[in-house]
Amino acid sequence: MPLTPVITEHWDDPELFTISGYRRHGGYRALESALTRDPDALISLVKDSGLRGRGGAGFPTGLKWSFVPQNDGKPHYLVVNADESEPGACKDIPIMLANPHALVEGVIITSYAIRAKHAFIYIRGEVPEAIRRVANAVREAREAGYLGTDIRGTGFDLDVVVHAGAGAYICGEETALLDSLEGFRGQPRLKPPFPAVAGLYASPTVINNVETICNIPYIVDRGVDWFRQFGTEKSPGFKVFAVSGHVNRPGIYEAPLGITMRELLDYAGGMRDGHQVKFWLPGGSSVPMLTADHLDIPMTYEDMAAAGTMLGTGTPMIFDETVSVVKAVTRWLEFYKHESCGKCTPCREGTYWITGTLEKFEHGHGTEQEVETLVELCGQIMGRSFCALGDAAATPYPAALKYFRDEFVAATTTSADDQFDPVASYVFAGAVAR
């Protein structure tokens, strides 16, 4: 399957981040067109396109927009989730660095469609470069008359605020993000009510991922039929894949949904010389891992689900045979433990216990019984917390155990570093041409 640069098509133009550079490549043409259309028609258009959320869950975007009650007299809000913090996810930040106006144009069109006069772009605080690039684009759009009052004489008003986070993975969870944006600790809310009905300040709110929003101008400009040329019936469109790990050419590859990991791996120059795939994750640490036996499964929402995993953020991490799966999983759990907001007991206490047990394994301690007990413990967390962080924390270990039970059992007597020399996994050991 060929690569299909759309969102990334003009990234090699160093001026793309400016409004003049973006316009040179057709930028803001979609907005001009959108502002002449009925907002409900835009919602229908996005519904018909079949676009699904690119933040991980894959919820149909147009459907989400349509849940916003209209003529309800309440203010509506658009919130862009730019809190990309999932281990392995590294595609929204590059989009914001390279093509921030696609995001801003998408924000304006989306706000017009859902009748929002305020939009917020919540960007994680640890990446100031993304924050300044997007803020610059917002300023340029305002100066060009695409933001403010009575935009292009349509009577539509929109103000966009770029909001910096302060280091909390949990704020990527949409309701925690809303609490954070309201000036509270970022802790998830119980759903329902869903944000489309009671979101920011208890008003109807759409929360979309950066890449999702960046699809909007292209769909508006080129149409549903064009968009549906890419991908499958259930997973239409293209995807900004970020391939990382022990490959020869890690980086950004944009392709239709349905491309296989084997094809992406080929584009990425294959595994570093002399090494093989040991395990890989299609989209972030929260999705179950796969092995070399799964390289030919199409990267779609439905095919990944059928394989027992999820497309997630569509940012595959690939590890070779030098890596200790015990160590990899332990590190992810240390992350979830650190990032658990503490609101729900199963997640708060569970991540503590899983991590403690895994750290014993990593250092060559524990018992075979504990290898089994840990599965049960993960089962006690799954589905028992407000948000998906608890589920995410309960995912890596059972998934890894499915394919690498022997390694966990061995770890109860032999430490991860004794099983696998950590230096062999380093990319600067000299074995890799970069």
């Binding site: 299909t4 640069p5 990309e84 690039r133 610059n136 302060a166 944006l181 000036g183 600790r185 590190r331």
Partner: protein, 224 residues
């Protein structure tokens, strides 16, 4: 340090950016941290006043987010990603080298107040592993030796360029950017690097393009 009247005015302006003043609390905390190098009790109280909440509520927020520090960070914040991808691809060794060079462990300042070292979580740059940050600007694809050299050069007061961003300033300047994102530096450096362009280049070399989009002509950007 006492909070000045002009700072209080700035805090009010940050509150006014939002439909409700409390939403401004996070940029406010970034602002006071940019002025004081940490979030002090005085800073929290000033933010609480502007946000219209109690100091206890503002403290609860400040203590929740890891970027707000309750001790002097010093001139430069040094972060090393030790999550699975970066850590196992060499970030662990980078962290060890920096810890030895600086003589400090995780989340702590050096005695001279020049550096703060921190094991950080995934920085959304796994394609560039192992990743280090200086004042939260990217220093991609580092090795232990390169990381130590970066610290050496910072210590000597030399100019150090972020691999995908502007020249390194200092911790307080970055915190200022987080409160006021329009810092005038958006055009600095090379935020779009080879790894972000690798797929596009392969597509162009192979004559691949999205259907319905005109076939690509020769690259317009500079080859790297």
């Amino acid at each position: 340090m006492a909070i000045s009247e002009s700072t209080r005015e700035q805090l009010q302006q940050l509150a006014a950016r939002y439909p409700r003043p409390r939403s401004g609390l996070m940029p406010m905390l970034h602002l006071v941290q940019s002025l004081e190098g940490e979030v002090t009790p005085e800073g929290i109280t000033a933010c609480a006043d502007a946000a219209g909440v109690s100091a206890a509520e503002a403290t609860a927020v400040a203590s929740f987010y890891t970027m707000y520090k309750r001790r002097q960070v010093g001139q430069h914040h040094i972060g090393v990603c030790v999550n699975t991808m970066c850590g196992l691809l060499g970030g662990d060794a980078v962290y060890e080298a920096l810890s030895e060079r600086l003589g400090v462990g995780h989340d702590a300042p050096t005695d001279d107040g020049q550096f703060w070292l921190e094991r950080i979580e995934c920085q959304a740059a796994c394609t560039h592993a192992p990743v280090m940050t200086v004042d939260w600007e990217y220093m991609d694809d580092v090795t232990p030796a390169a990381a130590v050299e970066i610290v050496d050069r910072l210590e000597r007061g030399e100019t150090v360029l972020s691999t995908r961003g502007p020249a390194i300033r200092d911790f307080r300047a970055t915190e200022q950017t987080l409160a006021y994102p329009e810092d005038g530096l958006a055009a600095e450096g090379t935020p779009v690097d080879d790894k972000m362009l690798v797929g596009l280049r392969i597509a162009k070399e192979g004559g691949m393009a999205a259907p319905g989009v005109p076939a690509p002509s020769a690259p317009t950007g500079q080859e790297g």
